[in-house]
């Protein structure tokens, strides 16, 4: 029983780490611009796909991964520049549709570039299972966990310590005030899109060796990332990370102890319950209307 539980936890944390990274991307963009970017999942797919293609071309592993992140960041910047910035005054629902349109567009692009094939990526460091008691994990599981932990710390550092990070935070509190004190709001928005795209790509690269990638892999991951961000509380990036971890664990515990067929339903029931009792997510604050 304990062995099983440990195995569930390992799986849950790995899956959750990926959700956390995607959720973090959602939260960063939401924080900077109040937009929920439903194309976040596509960043994951593009990151993984580009990395695989570059590796196949014979480019050294490390370079390929870095280049894949760079490509995805460019896609993220382009999305901000050509879609989001053009629709500055759009309402919440309109921006939702725009980002959904963007996600369909990017998926369509991937379909043309990569076709419908399933792609596999060689793991970072072999496939020899590591034993933890009777439970096992792959070296890649450790990469996923470590990669997520490192990027979460970096993001924290970026927002708490660097001038640019603080400027983005300022935009999130009050865009007008931020621009009055001389912060270039446009540039901050671009940076946050680039950052989220990069995080998405990183998530894709980390999990690609565990799972496989197709042009439509982004849909599910995007959905789970969004759920993670909401579960944690939209305005709080670290909440999104916690939400992602929780979601991953929920799925694995649900599948392990209740029913694997209904595991996603179980996770969503828990999310609904959380929202019913904490309408602002676990670590967020409920917004109140100002009179």
């Amino acid at each position: 029983m304990l062995d099983q539980l440990i195995q569930f936890l390992i799986t849950g944390i790995t899956v959750g780490a990926a959700y956390a990274l995607v959720g973090l991307g959602f939260a960063i963009i939401y924080n900077a611009s109040d937009v929920v970017n439903f194309a976040q999942g596509e960043f994951v797919m593009i990151g993984a796909m580009s990395a695989i293609s570059l590796i196949d071309m014979g480019i050294p592993y490390g370079v390929a991964l870095a280049a894949a992140v760079a490509i995805t960041v460019c896609v993220g910047l382009a999305l901000e520049k050509f879609a989001i910035e053009q629709a500055r005054d759009a309402t919440v629902v309109s921006t939702i549709i725009i980002t959904i349109g963007a996600s369909i567009f990017l998926r369509g692009m991937a379909l043309i570039v990569w076709g419908k094939d399933i792609y596999a990526m060689p793991p970072f460091s072999g496939e020899k299972p590591i034993h933890v008691g009777n439970a096992t994990m792959l070296p890649q599981n450790i990469w996923v966990m470590a990669g997520t932990a490192a990027s979460v710390l970096l993001v924290r550092y970026f927002f708490n310590r660097t001038a640019t990070g603080k400027a983005i935070l300022a935009c999130s509190y009050n865009m007008k005030a931020a621009s009055l004190v001389g912060i270039n709001v446009r540039k901050m928005l671009l940076i946050s899109y680039g950052l989220s795209a990069g995080l998405g790509a990183l998530a894709g690269i980390l999990i690609a060796p565990i799972t496989y990638i197709t042009y439509d892999s982004g849909v599910m991951l995007g959905l789970k990332g969004f759920s993670a961000a909401i579960l944690g509380g939209m305005g709080n990036p670290m909440g999104a990370v916690a939400g992602g971890m929780l979601l991953g664990l929920l799925e694995c515990i649900g599948a392990g102890f209740i029913s694997s067929g209904y595991k996603d339903a179980i996770a969503f029931v828990v999310i609904l319950m959380v929202l019913f009792f904490r309408p602002g997510g676990l670590f967020g604050s409920a917004q109140a209307e100002r009179v």
Partner: protein, 320 residues
């Protein structure tokens, strides 16, 4: 003159099959368009007028369809009784979840409705002993109206068209009434609405239940028309498509919802020739419309074409 636009629209709907009696786009895609219009008009009451986003509307559509399908196929119920049973079940579910869900705002509301839709979809897939699982359920009997069998595409055009027009009429009526103004007031400013004596959560719940019931009835008709249901017709992708229809036409305009539904029904039909490029083009069109016409195609058009024409259709169009 209040309903001039409606009469024009009804005339067009009635004329099309007379001019093109056996046209695929009229009698086949047309019926699909009618179902989509019914769903979009109902969702528009909730989203466009009351301002409550729902990414799970397909769930109510699905519950209605599956109650009709399962009870008629597995238990041999009369389709009309099945339809009523679907409405009762949806009424219960909608009332149960409406209050806690509608307390949420913005993206949290989007998440909750999305989650609800996904849960229902998973149940449809997993409860295969009952629902037939992902392969779906076939052999759903057709409808009989006073001895008149609704069994051809053209007859379905008539029935679905009539119900669709009824929905549009109901929607136009509601918007232009005490309750409809209360809805729009809740959207405009919750605090002002409440201090004028409007019960915010009650109003939201009522319109949520109404639009759920409209979706359920549409689902029952859909099941009998298709004679087959499978879960992929009720996935969250379809919920999102419904939202897109409403927003694309223009929020808070009944005819906007009609227009959006028609466009999104026909667009894929014309895009099939692009094969692999279909998805790319579809995504691009969606983005372009929302970027350049954020108020929606129909609402913008109605404003630009001229006050005369617009007057007929502009009923209840949002003023901002």
């Amino acid at each position: 003159m209040r309903l001039a636009g409606f009469y024009l629209f009804a005339a067009l709907v009635a004329l099309l099959p007379v001019v093109f009696p056996d046209n695929y786009y009229v009698t086949v895609v047309g019926v699909t368009a009618f179902f989509n219009i019914m769903l979009a008009v109902g969702l528009n009451l909730l989203m466009g007028y009351a301002g409550q986003i729902s990414l799970g509307h397909a769930a109510f559509f699905g519950i209605g369809a599956y109650v009709s399908a399962v009870t008629t196929v597995r238990y041999g119920w009369n389709p009309w009784v099945a339809m009523a049973a679907g409405l009762v079940l949806v009424w219960l579910i909608a009332n149960l979840i409406a209050r806690p869900i509608l307390r949420l705002k913005g993206h949290y509301l989007a998440m909750a409705t999305l989650g609800f839709g996904i849960i229902i979809h998973i149940v449809l897939v997993q409860a295969d002993a009952f629902t037939g699982g992902p392969d779906g359920l076939s052999g759903i009997p057709g409808l009989v109206l006073f001895g008149w069998h609704v069994d051809s595409d053209l007859r379905w055009y008539v029935v679905a068209g009539a119900v669709m027009l009824l929905y549009v009429w109901l929607s136009l009526n509601i918007i232009d009434s005490r309750e409809g103004r209360a809805l729009r007031a809740v959207h405009g400013s919750e605090v002002a609405a409440s201090t004028l004596g409007i019960d915010i959560s009650g109003t939201k719940v009522r319109v949520f239940v109404l639009s759920a019931l409209m979706a359920s009835l549409t689902g029952s008709l859909f099941a009998h028309q298709q004679a087959f249901v499978s879960p992929d017709s009720f996935s969250f992708f379809f919920s999102i498509e419904l939202v897109t229809m409403v927003v694309l036409g223009g929020l808070a305009s009944t005819f906007g919802a009609v227009f959006g539904a028609v466009i999104l029904t026909f667009l894929p039909e014309f895009l099939v020739v692009f094969e692999d490029f279909q998805m790319l083009i579809y995504g691009a069109i969606l983005m372009l419309i929302m970027i350049f016409l954020p108020r929606g195609l129909f609402v913008t058009m109605a404003d630009r074409i001229g006050p005369m024409f617009a007057g007929y259709f502009r009923q209840g169009i949002r003023e901002t």
